[in-house]
């Protein structure tokens, strides 16, 4: 996100401000202690670890200090600052912590301060032996031109005080990245799953198309269902007719003669003649086990059965 906060140089002799706009603050060397060291370290976090030991014996109170480290050309710049003192300073200058984004140190604007910057009637900021320092105006030549502070700080690194507007939100970067990774993993899973559904549906539709291609007349759903109904009815009825004859043949055994069979589209009728009552009873028992046929007429030696199709 682009930083469009205005940069304000805060020093002891400045007059309190009334603006409530959000600002970045640059502190003059009065408010921090600096050491510039040529230490063969590769990473900033390594330099950050050794920072407290570099200031041993240099700081008035050992406790409550925070350290800011960055690389400047070939050297590491170590800055010790006291957040509570800075907080008090800002409040004394009418600056509310909520309106402060980042806090920078004058050393970070070294390249811009090659030409001195006038702070008040007595002091100016200038670079002395690669270190931005407060220099009495008397030490500068009469014809010296003064520079002005840029409207925004070009440095990317800065510090944030607890409670300040530039402070981090609820989530730290690693936590946020963790959540993002989890959510995006789920998102990927959902997309893959959704795509699989889409693919499966397309496969089924292709199967339908392939079947329709074998019989183009079945293209229309209505026509398809009408043809299906027609053939299904024929199939069911014809199978029933054939099954009826098969069932009748099962009722013929020794002593039973099939004398008549009549098959119409709606029913099948058959007449059996038996040679004695025992055989007749056996036939009746067999009929009971075959519920598809019902007894229509029973005589002394014959029975007539019927099945509705």
């Amino acid at each position: 996100m682009r930083n469009n906060r205005e940069l304000l140089l805060v020093h002891t002799s400045m007059a309190p401000i009334r603006s409530k706009a959000r600002i970045d603050v640059m502190l003059t060397p009065q408010h921090y202690t600096l050491k510039r060291e040529m230490i063969p370290l590769k990473y900033r976090h390594q330099a950050q670890k050794i920072a407290p030991s570099l200031f041993d014996g240099l700081l008035e109170e050992a406790e409550g200090y925070a350290y800011f480290v960055y690389k400047e050309e070939d050297a590491w710049v170590f800055i010790a600052y006291h957040p509570e003192t800075i907080r008090s300073l800002l409040q004394s200058k009418g600056i509310r912590l909520e309106q402060v984004g980042k806090i920078f140190f004058a050393q970070q604007a070294k390249s811009k301060l090659e030409t001195p910057l006038k702070l008040d009637e007595k002091y100016a900021l200038s670079v002395v032996e690669s270190v931005v320092s407060m220099v009495p105006l008397q030490c500068l030549s009469q014809e010296e031109h003064f520079t002005t502070l840029p409207k925004q700080c070009s440095a990317s690194l800065g510090v944030t005080l607890k409670g300040a507007g530039g402070e981090e939100g609820i989530l730290s970067l690693p936590k946020a990245l963790g959540f993002v990774a989890i959510f995006l993993s789920f998102a990927t899973m959902f997309i893959v799953e959704g795509h699989a559904y889409q693919k499966e549906e397309a496969t089924q539709a292709k199967r339908v198309d392939a079947l329709v291609e074998t019989m183009p007349v079945l293209q229309s759903k209505l026509q398809r269902e009408s043809i299906f109904k027609k053939y299904k009815t024929i199939d069911t009825q014809e199978r029933k007719k054939r099954d009826s004859i098969k069932q009748l043949s099962k009722l013929i055994f020794k002593g039973v003669v099939l004398t008549e069979v009549s098959l119409s589209p709606t029913k099948v009728k058959a007449t059996f003649v038996c040679d004695n009552t025992k055989t007749l009873q056996r036939l009746l028992d067999a009929l009971k086990e075959n519920p598809s046929f019902k007894l229509l007429e029973k005589k002394v030696d014959s029975v007539q059965v019927e099945r509705v199709l």
Binding site: E168, T188, G194, E238, V257, L258, E260, V261, P265
Partner: protein, 131 residues
């Protein structure tokens, strides 16, 4: 807003996840609704093709001629007009009747009427069918 930039990124990724879930849910709903319809279409198509193969075959007429040849010519009256057949058989032995019926039932014709009657020791049969 920059104070909550990480929260915003997390929220954005959560919304992406929500969107992906919605996409999956929609696809799943659509699939379920289409699945039964597609499966029913496939079933109907396969059934129609199979049934048409059985009941719409073009060789029925030839198959019926083969049935006619099972019994001696003098026992048969055969009248085939277009896709309809009227036939009557007489003096059939039980063996001939059985053979005739089993062959006839293997031909995919629609039997309109079938009348079998025992006359002393032989059988007569009248048949009307179409295809």
């Amino acid at each position: 807003m920059s104070k909550y930039k990480y929260e915003l990124i997390v929220l954005l990724s959560f919304m992406v996840m929500g969107g992906a879930w919605f996409y999956k849910h929609q696809q799943s709903l659509h699939f379920v609704s289409q699945k039964s319809e597609l499966e029913s279409s496939i079933y109907t198509l396969q059934e129609v093709i199979a049934l048409k193969d059985i009941w719409g075959t073009k060789s029925i007429s030839k198959q019926l001629d083969r049935v006619k040849g099972i019994v001696p010519k003098q026992k048969v009256k055969w009248s085939k007009k277009g896709k309809k057949l009227t036939a009557s058989f007489h003096d059939l032995t039980p063996k001939e009747l059985n053979k005739l019926l089993s062959k006839l039932f293997n031909v995919a014709v629609q039997i309109e009427t079938l009348h079998i009657k025992r006359e002393s020791s032989s059988y007569s049969m009248e048949l009307k069918c179409k295809w």
